[in-house]
Structures are given as C-alpha cells and as structure tokens.
Amino acid sequence: MPLQGKVIGMLAQQIVNGITIGSIYALIALGLTIVYGVLKILHIAHAGVYAMGAYLGLWAYRFIPNLFLAMIVAMALSGVSGIVIERFLYKSMLDKSRIVPLIASIGLFIAMEEAFRIISGPYVKAFPVHFRQKPWIFGSVRISAPQMLVFGVTIALLVLLWWVISKTRMGKALRAVSMDREMADALGVATERIISLSFFISSALAGAAGVLVGVFYNSVYPTMGDIPAYKALAIIVLGGMGSIPGTILGAFLVGISETFLIGFVNIPLPRDALAFIVMIAVLMFRPYGLLGKE
C-alpha cells in the first residue's frame, strides 16, 4: 500500500479509537454535569455509581443472556441508587458550605469502592461476551464488534437524552432548575422531583458506561472508578460545567487527544494528568470552559 494510504489509514483508525474512548468519557461526564447543573454539587461518588453499574451488569448478565437487557437492568438499578444518594445524603446538605457535600461524596466513593472489594473480591473480574458480529473493515481501518457496541449504545443514549431534554416538559423543567433553582421553584416547578429525575438520568448513564467499559475491556474491578472520577471532573470543567453539549465536546476532545498523543508521540503520558493539562489549556482561552456560561 502506498505510504499516504497507509498513513491515512492509520490516522483514521486512531480517530476511531479516540471516538470510542470519547464516547465512554461522554457517558460518564454527562451524568456529572447534569448533577452539577441542577444542584451545583461535585458528585464524585458518581464514579462509584459507574463502577457499580459494571458490577450490576455483570451480575445481571449471568441470569439474562441478552446483553442489552442486562444493561437496561444495570441502568435502572444505578438510576435508583442515584436517587437514594440524593435523597439520603445531598438533600440535607444543600444549605451548607460547598465543602460538606464534596467530602461526603468523596467518603461515599471510598466506601463504595471498599464495599465492592469486600463483596466481590479485589481481583479483576472478566465480563466475557461472545460477539457474533464480525469486525467491519474499510481498507486498513478496522472497527471491532465491541467498538460497534460502544458507538451504538452511546449514540442511542445521546439521542434519547437530547429528546428528553429538548422535547419533553420534564426536560424543560430540568433546564429551568439548572438555570435558577429558586426561580423555578417559585414558578411552580416540582423541583424536588426534577432533582431526583436528574439524578436518575445521570446515574443510569453512568451505569451504562460501566457496563460498556466492563464488556469492552473485559474487566470489572473495585477501583475502576478511580481514573474516571478525576478525568470526568476535568472534562466537565473544560467543556463548561453544567453544559451538556460542552461536556460531550470536551469528552471527545480528551478522548481523541489522548489517542493521538500516544499514537504519534512517544511519551508515556500519565493519562490523568493529560486531561487536566487539556483542561488548564482550555481554561486559559475560555475561562468558563468551551461552552460554559457565566
């Protein structure tokens, strides 16, 4: 194959790789940004819900041989746990200083990880899914079945989210609450229910991401939430805290940068630091994030 063709092929493959990672980041970070939008809380335990989703998916898959159904079960249960966290924890902290829910969230995250380890063991668990679909090959670009799964689920969920937020009354109420909670309350919006709803959506998305990661990397383990915890924060900041399109953009930006930097430059980058570096770089030009508002 001529050199240009090879290079373009490799570039295209790297883009595919980057979008795959970006999709997963998007699903995780979206939940975080929605919670922040509504409650102005940095919900670090979100990463714990993500890991829990992976475990739930693994467990459900044992009884339900269909991966999609297992994922829906995991998403539903994760969503419910999100509501539980909101009701029993954050609700009572809304009027306190910012540090309080932050530390509570961190404590919860630590406790969740340990709970996973104690219940399920410290070892990495496999999530073996047999894909019958053969990989798609366009020239030297190869999209494997797991990658197709990630793309498919992400697109489906993003479309669903977009539809809920912009086309339904619930979605409008959610946007109102994000903009100004007190005002929305005064205008008669059922703020409490909307808050619970937003937690449900966020946690369900995280659960889905957990299952996808578990399947894609064939590994589920107690500390799998560590890196997403930090990275998702950097992503929502660089995308614009509370902005859904900004977060999606930020997620893909980080995913593709990571892939390109590693694919084309020979530095062993600590991937967590990279997300923060990109974040700082973006903040220098746009102090409220890519699509953030005042």
């Binding site: 490799m10 070892y123 494997s144």
Partner: protein, 383 residues
C-alpha cells in the same frame, strides 16, 4: 501430709509444663503485603501461598520442634504504613526474620530498617534493585529486571527466531530494566527493535499503540506489564488483527491473565518463575493444594513468596533462632529446591541466581516451553 505431697506434685507438673511451653516457643516470622487497596490481589495471593507454607512446616513438626507463627500485616502498598509495620515487627513482635510479600516501595523503604536492626529479610518478588543494596541482611528471591529482560531477549531472538521486534514497556524501573536487558541480548544476536513505546501503569487502552505496531508488522511484540495491562494489550492486539508472536514476562504469570485475555492468550510465551509442568512432585503438590484450599490457580507472586518463606525456614532449621546466624545460613544457601526452580545461590549482595522458566499458553493454561540457564544471562550483578 498427703495434701502437701499432692500440691507439690501438681506444682512440679505445672512448672514442667511451663518450661515445656518455653521450649516449644513459637518461632515468629514477620510478613507484610498489600492486603487491601488496589494491590490487594497480589498481596492476597502472596499471603495465601505463604500461609500454605507455614501450614506445611507446622504439619511436619515445625522448625526444630517449634511451631512457626506468621505475623501478618497489611501495608496497602503505602510506604508510611510499612515503616510503622517494620518498627512494630522489630520492637513489639520481636520477629527473628521477615518475608516481604509486597511490592517494591514498601520493601525498599523497610529494607534499611530491618538491616539496621539485624533482622534478615527475603523479598519474594519486589523488583527494585536498591532493595538488596540496603545491606547484608536483605535478600531477594525474584529476578532483577535486567536479567529477565536478557532472558526475554534470548527467547525472542534465539528460541522464537524473531528478527524484527516491537516493545511495549511499562513505565517504571522494572520495565525500563527489562527493556535494557532485552535490547542488549537481542542486538547481540541480530535482532532489530523497530518500535518501542512506554506506557503508564493502569493504561487500559492500547489501541493507539497497537495500530502503530500493526503498520510496522514486526515478527514479535514484547510486552512488559502486570497481568491487567498485559491481558488488555493482548486482547486488543488480536482484536485489531495483529498476528505476530507475543512475548511477555513474569507480570503475565497469573490465572487472571488467562481469564481476562481469553482466547487471545493462546500462544503467548512468557519468561517467569514457575513451571506448571515441573516434574518435581512437591511443585505439583503445591499447585494442587493451593487450588484446593483457595479455589484458584497459584501465580508467580504466590510461588515466589512461598519460596522466600521456605528459604527462611530452611535457614532457621540449619542455624537456629539467632537472627545473625539465620542471615548467614540464608547467604550460604546452595542449590535449594524451590518451587520457582533450583535456586543456585545468593550472590554477594543478596541477589538470587536461578534459571528463568519459559512458559507458553496452550489450551488456556501455562505449559513448559523452555528454560534459560546460561550463566551469561542469569548471573546477577555483584553491585
């Protein structure tokens, strides 16, 4: 009168029993490993193996008639905790020897402490070179990175006949040492390294690097790393359509690697410590007992820690309970039959000299592929 006689008889019996228990005083050996936290899997594996060793020793009457008591601490792979643990083992528990079932950081932080206190320590699998340099009381049962790297290079070029080579090196001292040894040996016999990339621990996604490698079509890909990264790299490599031979090292040596990589692990060759097909019965017994007791296959970490303990036990058998004498006995260990091979001896600074096992994954399990015992490769450096 009779009562007085009975009383003194009972008294004498009690005294005798008391003295008797003094003589059957348990032999206290210290052990630390990461039992909770992210490194819990390896630490637990090491602990399980060493507990098995302790049971075996005690079942056959203990050491010189005295039972062995293993004092276990969890260091969470945290240097601060391990310093506290070391001081505890020395001052409070008063152990006469220590086995490290932990990673490099806790081992190397505590090595000078044990050395200063005159308590011998044998490290099971920690790889940092500075550990044994802490002093004459510190020994290591595992391979130095550079030696294993040289062995890997030998396997790549001379056993697997690969000419063009790619490397994924884990970005820590062990990985770098492996790389150095690999380069040196491979170059000597005409191998050519066409790509090398270092990756951080915890990397989950190798697609970028693998795409690069695919474009270069080398004969062999040498990956250094622990089983999580290894399994992911191998799996993603096969998914991406990479068909070259894959060579790994002791980090791959775990049933977890096989589980996580699935079919992709087939045909992968590794340099390591434990030969599953080892004809020696006590090796097969260990594998069977471990599986029976813990429900999973043993791995390199467990086998190395087991051997480290047995080396200490053996030394105590020969030299008694004086730490300095134990230290001397360990240093003069020769041709010790360990799980991890025939341990020839420990050199001047406490590094072990033993052959490198080469295993291949066939039908989902590790099997014998070869062994490297060329002294040119396996002799550890003297300083």
């Amino acid at each position: 009168m009779k009562k007085w006689l009975l009383g003194s008889l009972i008294g004498a019996l009690v005294v005798c029993l008391g003295i008797g228990t003094l003589f059957a005083a348990p032999i206290k050996i210290g052990f630390f490993a990461p039992l909770t936290g992210f490194a819990a899997a390896d630490g637990t594996s090491a602990k399980n193996a060493v507990m098995l060793a302790v049971e075996e020793v005690n079942k056959s009457g203990g050491l010189n008639g005295n039972p062995v008591k293993l004092i276990v601490y969890d260091d969470r792979d945290n240097p601060k905790e391990s310093v506290a643990i070391a001081n505890k083992l020395i001052e409070k528990d008063k152990v006469i020897a220590v086995v490290s079932g932990s990673y490099s950081t806790p081992t190397r932080v505590t090595a000078p402490i044990f050395n200063k206190a005159g308590i011998p320590m044998v490290a099971g699998y920690a790889v940092d070179p500075s550990i044994t340099k802490a002093g004459p009381y510190i020994f290591r049962n595992g391979f130095l990175g550079e030696i294993e790297g040289k062995a890997a290079g030998e396997v790549a070029v001379n056993l697997l006949k690969a000419k063009t080579l790619a490397l994924f090196t884990i970005d820590n001292d062990f990985g770098r040492a492996l790389s150095r040894g690999f380069h040196a040996r491979a170059k000597k016999f005409g191998g050519k390294v066409v790509y090398e990339h270092a990756f951080a621990i915890g990397t989950k996604d190798f697609s970028a690097m693998l795409t690069k490698v695919k474009g270069l079509s080398p004969d062999l890909l040498f990956i250094s790393g622990y089983y999580e990264e290894a399994a992911l790299a191998v799996k993603q490599a096969r998914e991406l359509g990479l068909t070259c031979k894959i060579l790994g090292e002791e980090g791959f040596d775990s049933p977890k690697f096989l589980e996580l990589a699935g079919d992709a692990a087939e045909g992968v060759v590794i340099t390591t410590n434990l030969n599953r097909d080892d004809p020696r019965p006590f090796v097969q017994d260990f594998i069977k007992q471990y599986k029976a007791k813990y429900g999973m296959e043993p791995d390199m970490v467990g086998a190395s820690s087991y051997d480290a303990f047995m080396i200490v036990a053996n030394a105590i058998r020969k030299a008694g309970t004086n730490p300095k004498a134990i230290r001397d006995a360990i240093a003069s260990t020769k041709n010790f039959d360990g799980l991890t091979g025939l341990i020839k001896h420990f050199n001047k600074i406490g590094e072990v000299m033993k052959p490198v096992q080469v295993q291949v994954v066939k039908n989902g399990a590790f099997h014998y592929y070869g062994v490297i015992s060329d002294p040119e490769i396996i002799t550890p450096p003297e300083k």
